[in-house]
Amino acid sequence: MENKDNETKLRLEEDIQAVSFLKNQLGGYSYVRYSRTDLLNDDSILTGASVLNDANYFNNPDEVIRYFEKARHYSDEVTIASFIDYVKDLLENGDTDGANPKVVDSWLTDYEIRFATDTTMDLDDVLEGLKSDLTLYE
């Protein structure tokens, strides 16, 4: 039981490390957050399609067509996909500000999967929840 608790504690600590890193990056991130108006512009629509494709957002060609039909409705998704793209670049360049790249990458993969259905995920809330869970093991 103690071993299992230790494993859970370690996983929580790793998640906290990853989310803190992402939260800090998001705070200082100077990219343009995509708004509905941005996604009325052809260049932004095309860039948005590329980042969503890179983040494996589209499940089939029909979803790609639906995106092109109403790209302005995808501002949250394009914003998150762009951020994921940006963080992946940081990880590739080893620019992780002391955080373990593997831990961040693993959490990011999870985040990437979740963002398809939960684009409003708030990293502050996630961090608070993780810290609260960690107190149970201390």
């Binding site: 052809d42 095309l46 399609a49 590329s50 969503l52 589209f58 060609p61 092109f68 039909e69 790209a71």
Partner: protein
């Protein structure tokens, strides 16, 4: 893919068009002899609609000992087809190109989606499907599955 199998795929698209297209028809290219590969049968949709088809049954390939534009005929088992569906979008032309082969009654479909706005062409994904040419309730059961795969990609 032999000629009979290709004809079945064409029949499937024609049936699909009669269901969802308003007055669109699939017809053989009128100027087949003047096409770049006249030996490869080609079909297009007549009239503009949501799904605009361009279909080619590839019966020849470049010669391996390629001298310029030498083409050689392929045996029917090696023949394949491309089903191209184009949508006119505000941002440009979005094209779904499905490469179709058939082996042991299984249709293998690989679809790439590209967007072309006149300035550049960019790939926005690749998807794969398989459809079994089996009869469950009627001989055309798989027609719908095949047409869904090359149009909506589901």
């Amino acid at each position: 893919m032999n000629k009979t199998q290709m004809n079945k795929l064409i029949e499937a698209v024609k049936e699909g068009l009669s269901d969802f297209a308003d007055g669109q028809e699939l017809v053989p290219a009128p100027n087949q002899d003047e096409l770049r590969f006249p030996e490869c049968p080609t079909w297009n949709t007549k009239g503009k609609g949501y799904y605009n088809f361009h279909i080619v049954y590839w019966t020849s390939r470049d010669s391996y000992a390629n001298h310029g534009s030498d083409r050689v005929s392929m045996p029917s088992k090696d023949r394949w087809a491309t089903f191209q569906v184009t949508h006119e979008m505000g941002v440009g032309e979005v094209t779904k190109t499905s490469t179709v082969t058939i082996k042991d009654k299984v249709i293998n479909i690989t679809t790439t989606v590209t967007v072309d706005n006149g300035t550049y062409s960019n790939s926005v994904g690749m998807y794969m499907h398989q459809v079994e040419m089996t009869e469950i309730w009627s001989k055309t059961d798989w027609y719908t599955l095949f047409v869904n795969a090359i149009t909506r990609g589901v």
